[in-house]
């Protein structure tokens, strides 16, 4: 009896060992060349959903870019000019009407052709759901003109609309399929769970499997109208930064999207390639303009001038990694309308001390809040906050650091209850108009208690920029940002460096500030 138990145990052990060896021999994951079919991309997930009308996270954009086509798109990394996607476009001279016309034949993954009805349904669905991305189409009326044409109209000029439409959240879904699974263009839509199992788009890939916490697997859409992607099996897996570094060097993944400046040091150049860039995220300082909260300090313009002049921007860039840059204004350096840093943001300790003396500041402690549980492209807020505290101390400004979880800091910041701090802004769409919310009385302006009417010069400049026609926009946004720098409560600080590490087998990874990476374009 004992002997038979031993035999059984031995058989189990041998069987398990053979299975493990077989699994090892099968190559498992990560094996890939362009002909090897499988591409593994490592990303630190912030995924919530793959339903384009509800997704508005970085990972969600990568996923939806692979699954869904949009009416307009951007070519590669160039976000300065929208190009036709499913449709081509023309704008009225007053920027209030955008006419979209079907551009060639496009097909959903089940073989159905993409129609104007699908476009109208998809865009109206985004509006109706009132989810994270619905603000993209605020004030836009979507109308079918005929079987080839859709018209988007707004009551006020909206020259940014062609730059908004390439957002993957505005991906076009198969309305016939979706309606069978609870999809509507009303707020009662219930198709999300279906779309998290089965994609209904005309993009280069279809959903093979989907997990919010571990990985999303894609397979080619056999009816895709564009260029066939290089990889027939793509795995986007949720991996933390340090593990991504090990994976890509070991060949278990081919692309690592979330390594920071420290982690890219010491990479094995024989096994990996490093692509350096500048993050489209702008980290900025803000100072509350409410006299009660500001206590006569942060709501004093001379104090803010002292703050600006006492920052050693070159040292901040040194902390932010290779590829980081100092933005001249709030608009990121990659976008049309960006400006170079001007004299208001130059390190000048003597000028800082003079401005501080003029402000009447007499050593009051300023509370400086920031999130300590998130990073922006791997750059910690804590690092910047400590450097700033030390630099301001040299000018005579006393700052008390107040770190906290992003959920609590953001909540208090949005309520306008904090005295000062550092926060970041990522582009909702690659157009300077996305940054007008920093103006007096606008959503971000109000977080610094910068109310409507607080600064007529800035408000006038913002209005002019918002309504400027195409040719005048660059100048109008430059004027607005200079006015913000001269008298506003926001200090643009840094755009961190951004890094993508690839296996040497990868020859091309087109990055884009809207959807980070187009999986179908990786070669």
């Amino acid at each position: 009896m004992i002997r038979s138990h031993r035999r059984l145990a031995a058989a189990i052990v041998i069987g398990a060992s053979v299975a493990v060896v077989l699994a090892g021999c099968s190559g498992g994951g990560g094996s890939s060349s362009s002909s090897g079919k499988t591409l593994v991309v490592d990303n630190s997930f912030d995924l919530k959903t793959s339903d384009p009308a509800r997704a508005f996270e970085l990972t969600g954009s990568i996923v939806d870019k692979a699954l869904y086509e949009t009416v307009l798109t951007f070519k590669g990394s160039d976000v300065t000019k929208p190009v036709p996607g499913i449709m081509s476009y023309s704008e009225s001279s007053d920027d209030k009407t955008l006419t979209l016309t079907m551009d060639g034949k496009h097909y959903f993954s089940n073989g159905d052709p993409v129609t104007v009805d699908d476009v109208v349904f998809s865009l109206k669905r985004v509006q109706a759901i009132a989810g994270n991305p619905s603000f993209l189409l605020d004030g836009v009326t979507v109308t079918k003109k005929d079987d080839k044409t859709v018209v988007l109209t707004t009551t006020t000029a909206n020259p940014a609309l062609p730059f908004i439409l390439p957002n993957p959240s505005l991906g076009i879904v198969d309305s016939k399929v979706l309606k069978k699974h609870g999809g509507t263009d009303t707020k009662s839509d219930s198709a999300e769970s279906y779309l998290n199992k089965t994609s209904a788009g005309s993009g280069p890939y279809m959903l093979k499997s989907y997990s919010v916490t571990t990985k999303v697997v894609f397979e080619p859409n056999p009816h895709y109208a564009g260029t066939k992607p290089a990889y027939s099996n793509v795995v986007l897996e949720n991996v933390a930064g340090p593990t991504q570094k090990i994976n890509v060097q070991a060949g278990a993944s081919q692309v690592a999207l979330d390594l920071n400046a420290t982690q890219v040091q010491g990479l094995d150049s024989a096994k990996t390639n490093l692509i350096k860039g500048t993050s489209p995220y702008v980290m900025y300082l803000w100072f509350n303009q409410d006299s009660t909260i500001g206590a006569g300090v942060t709501n004093n313009q001379d104090f803010i001038t002292a703050v600006r002049k006492s920052i050693d921007y070159s040292k901040i860039l040194g902390l932010s990694g290779s590829g980081s840059t100092q933005p001249g204004g709030l608009v990121p350096s990659q976008f049309k309308g960006a400006i170079k840093p001007d004299s208001t943001a130059e390190f000048d300790l003597a000028a800082a001390k003079a401005a501080l003396a003029k402000s009447g500041y007499n050593g009051q402690t300023v509370t400086f809040s920031y999130p300590n549980d998130i990073t922006v492209d791997g750059l910690q807020f804590e690092t910047l906050a400590q450097a700033l505290q030390s630099q301001w101390a040299a000018a005579g400004i006393t700052v008390k650091l107040a770190p906290g979880p992003i959920a609590t800091v953001l909540d208090s910041f949005r309520a306008g209850n904090l005295q000062s701090g550092i926060m970041y802004w990522g582009p909702d769409y690659p157009d300077a108009s996305d940054y007008l919310v920093f103006s007096p009385g606008q959503s971000i302006g109000l977080r610094a208690a910068w109310k409507d009417g607080a600064d007529a010069t800035v408000t006038d400049a913002a209005n002019a920029a918002g309504s400027a026609s195409s040719d005048d926009r660059v100048q109008a946004f430059a004027t607005w940002q200079k006015a913000m720098n001269a008298s506003g409560p926001f200090v643009p600080l840094v755009q961190p460096g951004q890094y993508v590490v690839t296996a040497t087998s990868i020859t091309s990874v087109p990055l884009n500030p809207v959807w980070t990476v187009d999986l179908a374009s990786i070669k």
Binding site: A16, V18, A19, V20, V21, L22, A23, G24, S26, G28, G29, G30, S31, T38, V40, K48, T49, D51, R54, F56, A130, G131, N132, P133, S134, F135, D138, K187, S193, N196, S209, S211, V212, T213, T214, K215, V217, N233, V235, E237, N238, V239, A240, P242, T243, N247, A250, A252, S253, P405, I406, A407, T408, L410, D411, R414, D428, V437, S443, I444
Partner: protein, 364 residues
């Protein structure tokens, strides 16, 4: 001189006692019934505590879940709050939560947008699989080494085992996880990478949610091997810690029993060493060992957050981490509840096993 009363003596005493006066149920059943009642009360307490703690966090779930632009739009914030019931008074929210809970509805996660029960049904089997792997090896190695150390008290092998146990307990699991991953995956290439399966491999047909079991049931040997090989590294990390714990408690428990008179008597009677060790020493020291096994298993089942995070395991620990960092209240409460159920369930099971192992317990 102390010795354990025999089972039959205790049973007879209990039986006589039950015949006295009013008719009473079997002591073991009564014991189980009382423990079960206490467990239900504890479970209700868990719902109150998790709900109160989750709502004490000074932050707004809508602010945490919505993007900047969306959070600035009152219409979108109102829709979000209405969808998740956050627009109602907290007390009303609790009773709605409790009512839904009785129907198995834990609400919808604000992050994954799935029903929390559905998320937990996916995450929990992953953790169970890892925890079972770790606890089985921990019991075999930990109790074995603990007994060996005690039986060879103060000899070289005892000292070596004690150092090994100390190392297991002292090294932080997150460090060990990263170190194991770096050495055995990257440097040596002996183990596969992160996740429960290789990226190109597809999970077996769902039956239990444990990939090794499901692969076996489906006869997919390659997938079974792949899943098993992925279990090895995270399982080893967890095993090392649990083994360290078990060795110490087993050694100490066995040392206590070794000096008991009934063990000396058994040896004096000339019983074989194996009989003395397993029937007298191990049984006598089993209660404290069982307690620590239960607690260790509970700890493994309730999510080994950092290990799961490093190995991208997709279990309860990783789910809890994401829920906590994104202020996903329904998910936080769901995880809190399942952790409560795990601990209460394990304690209940241990209490019942106590009753079987030691008749004194159920009589008391």
């Amino acid at each position: 001189m102390t010795s354990l009363p025999s089972s039959s003596e205790v049973e007879q005493a209990a039986s006589v006692s039950s015949r006295d006066g009013r008719r009473r149920s079997h002591p073991l059943l009564r014991y189980i019934g009382i423990r079960f009642g206490i467990s239900i009360l504890l479970l209700w307490g868990v719902t109150v505590v998790t709900f109160v703690l989750a709502n004490l966090v000074p932050a707004n779930p809508a602010a945490a879940a919505l993007g900047d632009k969306a959070a600035s739009d009152p219409k979108i914030v109102a829709a979000f709050n209405a969808q998740h019931g956050f627009d109602k008074p907290v007390v009303v929210q609790y009773f709605i939560y409790l009512g839904n809970l009785l129907h198995g509805d834990l609400g919808n996660s604000t992050q994954t947008h799935n029903p929390v029960s559905q998320d937990l049904a996916v995450a929990f089997p992953a953790t169970i699989e890892l925890a079972l792997f770790a606890i089985i090896f921990s019991i075999i190695i930990g109790i074995g080494l603990g007994m060996l150390a005690a039986l060879r008290h103060n000899r070289l092998s005892d000292q070596i085992i004690r150092v090994f146990s100390l190392i297991g307990i002292s090294i932080p699991t997150f460090w060990l996880a990263v170190a194991f991953f770096f050495v055995f995956f990257y440097l040596l290439g002996w183990a596969p990478g992160t996740g429960r399966l290789s990226p190109a491999d597809t999970p077996p047909p769902h039956v239990t949610g444990m990939y090794t079991v499901d692969a076996l049931l489906a006869g997919q040997w390659a997938t079974f091997g792949d899943a098993l090989s992925h279990l090895v590294l995270p399982g080893a990390v967890l095993t090392l810690f649990t083994v360290g714990l078990l060795v110490r408690f087993t050694r100490s428990g066995v040392l206590d029993v070794l000096s008991q008179d009934y063990v000396k008597a058994a040896r004096a009677k000339g019983l074989p060493a194996r009989t003395v060790v397993f029937r007298y020493i191990l049984r006598g020291s089993l209660l404290p060992i069982l307690t620590i096994v239960g607690l260790a298993f509970g700890s493994l089942l309730s999510g080994t957050v950092l290990t799961e995070q490093v190995f991208n395991w997709g279990g309860i620990g990783q789910y809890a981490y994401k829920a906590a960092t994104t202020l996903d209240l329904p998910a936080i409460m769901g995880v809190g509840l399942i952790v409560g159920v795990v601990y209460i369930g394990i304690n209940f099971a241990i209490d019942v096993i106590y009753g079987f192992i030691d008749p004194r317990v159920r009589v008391q």
